[in-house]
């Protein structure tokens, strides 16, 4: 009897252990990599993932739109908030491990990795049109982010030199295992960066359709190409790309200048980052409205506009004078703020058709051509919408000033300063302090394969 019971106990206890599935648990909120990308739907989801990362505060959700204006803060705006990282950007007192430099770099390569995963999994897309579409979108993502990185972290592009100064890292393959995650890739030169950017965007133009809902299409790629060429002072190609977009007829200016910011996906937008109540770049510590707005319950009012700039650049009758600037009523009230960024859930226009008119005008003026239309007319398209006065036979300065007016606080300013070889305050366009530091962690993680920028 005793023996039987003993055997029973042993059988019972070992029986429990013998259950093979006892230790098998799959995650509920994530998918194991081997199960993640199996079909067309999964590849499409990867594409959307790229947009999601780009819409975050580290990229177009905040930093890619805000840093270029903060870097050019002199006589233009000032940083009043408690975030030291942004204060350093505005004051040009950046340190090697500046949080913003760090997170923008990191997020951009995370999106690029997602894009590279799309490109290597295209064989799982059976629909031919979709395959082209996803390829175009992935190339777009890789191209524009490399462009943003080289503009921010590389020495300014100077058409008079070989541009052998260091730019960003070019990464064209996805990371799928431990070895790949540890690979140390050196920085390429700015010239190599631009070659890669143009290659990606040019191919994207050939792959993307004219219409793609709220995601990027052929004209979005062209708009960025136009920006890239302009940054290189390649005025012919910049003009041609802008001209193609304007000529397509898909886009046009809204009747009032505020509409593009207060409404979603208006005809003025070539591309917007989509946001809603739930999914946006942030509403307390991140996001454009968080930093710019001073409305009851909205915004920290951290970026304050210089009234000197506004008074010097806008006529009082200009619809943009009242439409885009206001006296704050929320945080740090009583000062002047920019109303382009006033709601957490607003879409973020990244490229507007107004900019294309201004690029075409500038390039035509510089080249002495009238491709598409005269600089005078193109300038007036932008100005008359805001009831600004007509400028007959505008000079280059007139057009460049219009860029400052029209594109203020949309992430353009420091890039213009650099390509125009101008200065912000006492910092000349090629000052080391106008180039973001390579995150110190990158230099440590690659044991110095990545080289720090001069001045850090």
């Amino acid at each position: 009897m005793k023996r039987i019971i003993l055997i029973g106990i042993i059988a019972f206890t070992t029986g429990l252990g013998a259950c093979k599935k006892a230790l098998e648990v799959d995650p509920q909120q994530n998918i194991k990599a081997e199960d993640a990308i199996k079909n067309e739907q999964d590849v499409k989801a990867l594409v959307i993932g790229c947009y999601s990362i780009m819409g975050g505060g580290a990229l177009y959700g905040t930093n890619l739109l805000m840093l270029p204006d903060l870097q050019a803060s002199e006589g233009y705006c000032s940083w009043r908030g408690t975030f030291q990282s942004y204060r350093q950007v505005a004051n040009k007192s950046l340190i090697r491990d500046n949080t913003e430099a760090n997170r923008t770099w990191t997020a951009a390569y995370r999106a690029i990795n997602n894009a590279n995963l799309v490109l290597t999994n295209l064989d799982k897309v059976t629909d031919v049109d979709n395959r082209k579409l996803y390829e175009g979108e992935a190339l777009f993502v890789r191209g524009v982010l490399l462009f943003e990185l080289t503009r921010l972290y590389g020495g300014g592009f100077d058409p008079l030199t070989a541009n052998a100064q260091l730019g960003a890292v070019i990464k064209n393959t996805p990371t799928t295992d431990e070895a790949g995650a540890f690979a140390a890739i050196p920085r390429s030169t700015v010239a190599q960066n631009y070659t890669q950017v143009i290659a990606d965007l040019t191919t994207a133009v050939t792959k993307l359709p004219d219409e793609n809902g709220t995601r990027v299409n052929r004209f979005t790629a062209l708009a960025f190409l136009s920006r890239v060429y302009l940054q290189k002072s390649d005025f012919i190609n910049a003009r041609n790309a802008a001209n193609t977009i304007i000529g397509s007829g898909y886009y046009g200016l809204n009747p009032v200048p505020t509409a593009v910011f207060t409404n979603k996906n208006t005809k003025e937008s070539i591309w917007e980052i989509q946001q809603n109540d739930q999914n946006n770049a942030g509403n307390s510590n991140d996001g454009m409205a968080t930093f710019y707005a001073s409305l009851p319950g909205i915004g920290r009012a951290d970026v304050r506009m210089s009234t000197a700039f506004i008074n010097a650049f806008y006529e009082p009758t200009d619809a943009r004078y009242d439409g885009w600037y206001y006296v704050g009523t929320g945080a740090r009230p009583g000062n002047t703020y920019c109303s382009k960024w006033n709601a957490f859930e607003q879409n973020l226009p990244i490229v507007r058709i107004a900019e294309m008119y201004l690029i075409r005008a500038e390039c035509n003026r510089r080249l002495g051509t009238n491709l598409g239309d005269t600089p005078e007319n193109d300038l007036d398209v932008v100005r008359s919408r805001s009831r600004a006065s007509f400028i007959a036979a505008p000079t280059l300065t007139d057009i460049l000033n219009e860029r400052r007016r029209e594109l203020a606080f949309e992430g353009i300013r420091i890039h213009d300063i650099k390509r125009l070889k101008s200065a912000t305050g006492s910092f000349p366009w090629n000052d080391n302090k106008l180039v973001l530091p390579i995150p110190q962690r990158e230099i440590d993680a690659t044991s110095g394969v990545l080289v720090q920028n001069p001045g850090y």
């Binding site: 990599a33 390569y109 997602n114 799928t176 995650a181 739930q278 962690r441």
Partner: protein
Amino acid sequence: MRRSFLFLLGLFLLTAQAALAQTKTVTGKITDVKDGAPIAGASIQVKDSKAGTTTANDGSFSITLPANATTLIIAAIGYEKQEVRISGNTVQVALKAGEARNIDEVIVVGYGTRVKRDVTSSISRVTSKDFQNLPLPSFEQALQGRASGVFINTGSGKLGQGLNIRVRGISSISANQQPFVVIDGVPVVSQSLGSSTEPDNPLATLNPDDIESVEVLKDASSAAIYGSRASNGVLLITTKGGKQGRSKLNVGYYTGWSEPTRKQKFLNATQYKELFTAAATNAGYVAEDEFRDNTGTEDWASTNNTNWADQAFQKGYVRQYNISLTGGDARTKFLLSGSFNDQKGIIIGNRLTRATGRLNIDHNINNRFKAGANLSLTQSNNYRVPSDNAFSNPLQLNALPPLHPLLDASGQSNNATLYYNNLIEQEGNNRNLNKTYRTISNLYAEWAIQPNLRFRTQVGIDWNNLQENQFLGRRTLDGAPEGYSYDNQVTASVLTTTNTLAWNNKYGDHSIDALGGIEYQRGISSGASVEGRAFASDKFTKIANAAIISNGSSSETQFRFMSYFTRANYKFKNKYLLGASFRVDGSSRFGKDKQYGVFPAASVGWILSEENFLRNSNFLSFLKLRSSYGRTGNAEIGNFSALSLYGSAAYANIAGLVTTQIGIPNLTWENTDQFDIGLDFSILKNRISFEVDYFSKNTKDLLLAVPVPATNGYTTVVKNIGDMTNKGFDFTMNATILRGTGFNWTTSFNISTYKNEVTRLVAPVPPGGRTVGRLAVGAPFGQFFGRKYMGVDPANGDALYLAANGTTTNDYSAAIDTEIGDPNPDFYGGWNNKFSYKGFDLDVQCQFVKGGDLFNIAGIFQSVNGDYFDNQTTDQLNYWKKPGDVTNIPQPRLYDGNGAGKSSRWVQDGSYFRIKSLNFGYNFPVKWLKKAKIESARLYVAGQNLATFTKYKGYDPEVNATYVSNVNLGHDFYTPPQARTITIGVNLGF
């Protein structure tokens, strides 16, 4: 000491004898029953009288006593008290050695119990006697200063907040560092469940009065039986059980008041204006204009003088009601208890209530079968304080300029302030309530297959449900513009089944016991949350009334463990001890290539005092040498760290797929090999006992998030790659200084050290944004690293920093990073004294930490010579004013950052000595109580954190801001101090 005692006693007796009248004389001799040796200094007292004397060196005495005296009470330190009837004129008494031999204690070990004498490992024990009736926010605080080798940092004065418990140093970097907690054999969830950035403490749901003892398993041989979860030590909590005999009803009540242990001093309005006028002028600004510009107010010109810092605090209270019924007969024993505890914190808005119920029952079915259960149910409500780093943290009020009025013109909290005036959150329906429902229960059955072979099966469950409920109205920072409500529910349950077979036997001089077991554990945690905005008015707080459901989520995660373990102990001739244990743990958390881990341990002990050459020593009563070596693991590595994963990410209304981690298939637990050597000895008939241990822990395979180039799309890859060592001593001394019929005094002192060193990393982990803690090979965990502040240049008032080659520089960016502190203590410990005299007893517990640097992050804002408009600590007034001034405070320059960069300027020595608790009570004499049919009655006054001696200038040197990562030990960021609490209470037994 003994001499002064005798003197006092003699004095006492002299005065007593003066009152005597009709007398007789008795003489005699007191000896030791064991060897007949005379006992000197034994006290002889006449029962129910004050008359008494003591024995001479030869044990003899002579006493004059009243003619009607019938009984003498004989007592001597180290012996049992004895009563002798007086018959004739001589008395001969032989005393037996006393009961105070703690080596006979039965202590709880993993899956069993053991007599302390036979233990060959290192275990600290704290029993209910040590902490009953103290107003403890949670029971772990009872270990502080009482258990050697256990370093506890309460972190803050927030109620129900997670606290740091480190057993013998720090044994992990990225996995959990807290000990494994087992309650009555059931492993429990001790990690925070809530969504707050600051951890809550699930163990705060336990009623400390239900706890009989807490054993801390410190070395490998005691802990390795818990295998892959024992690297951080193990806390074994045993709840009280019933006792055979008459049923006893105990009722207790205490109530008390609390206040902050310390407040900081900030500038008043006049001082504020002086400092900021100077700061603005020096930087070329006009103070009034800049103040207006930054605050949007005209308050610069006002006559307000608001003490904002004090607004963060309130007078707290605490009260507790508890009742318990115990009893039983030969077959059934039970304990039934209930308690209600209500604490109002010292920080505005903070309150914790806890209601508990418990039934512990053991029943012998017959002489072979036994079954029982420990059932508990707890409900607690915690009204929480926001994270240290939130503008809504009340302590951040101290940043507000004193020039702002407290209330606006309409009598509401003023919201036109430099930063958010979070007093607004104290208005109306605003709240942040965490409700917890929890049961930790088990059922067991035992079967004595043979008298020396027992099978035990136990099923335990820890079921913990947390409900978070937050509402913020439209005037609050996060509730604007139209109100915000958040609900979150998390349920974590751990089910454990344990089957063990225990056997023991004795063959002549050999005694053996052995244990084998198998354990399966399944943990599931799931939750759901929803967030709503836009309410018709602040009177609506439920999401049903929200116009916008702005967020919602649900989550689930699981883990499983399958374990096999065995242990054997062998004893020869009652003096040679040998022990070994072995555990195999498999877990769903471990990578496919390494799913099972092996955790062996062995120990030896030698009771030298049983050897002939020591047996008859008068001085030495007990001496045991012991040593152990073994391996433990740390499996708190996250449930899915070993897998490569994709997650989802939303883009407006669509969901996308993104990579989240690169996994490694051989990712597994962390290993710690620990060596321990210890000595237990007692002297003077066990009057003084010592425990000394040296330990050396080598932790390998530490899980580290290895930084990889972000250009590859990932920033880190988690690998088992780091090494770390902890070495140190634990020392405990217990002494009965005075013991006799009158005044009793026992003391207990412990001191511990650990020296941590990180010995292998992939790359140093530098300090983050505002923090200074880092990881580097050769440095202790969390070493402070950064710019070294070198004071002020007397010539121009510039802040100076250490530059290369030992020079100084006023250019922050040219300064070098260097070691600027160590947050680990040099040593720490406690000192406990218990006194009793007649019905009175006094228990004083002190606790101390030496070393352990602190970094006050808030200094960057509040002690920075007026760099921005935050109110400043008063010491900033001593700023540099003119060339030649020698001071440590740089010249104030508004916005200029003179001395504002993160540096050792805010590193301070965190040493402290604290009178942690005091309990003074009076037990009413039994004869009084009999009339009222009360068996026992005790009235007491108790205090917590009565006094703290420290050089630290912040609120409290026992601080650990938890919103920063765990590498940042000893960081303070507007962290509330602990409470000083005074309570009075009564316990009645019926």
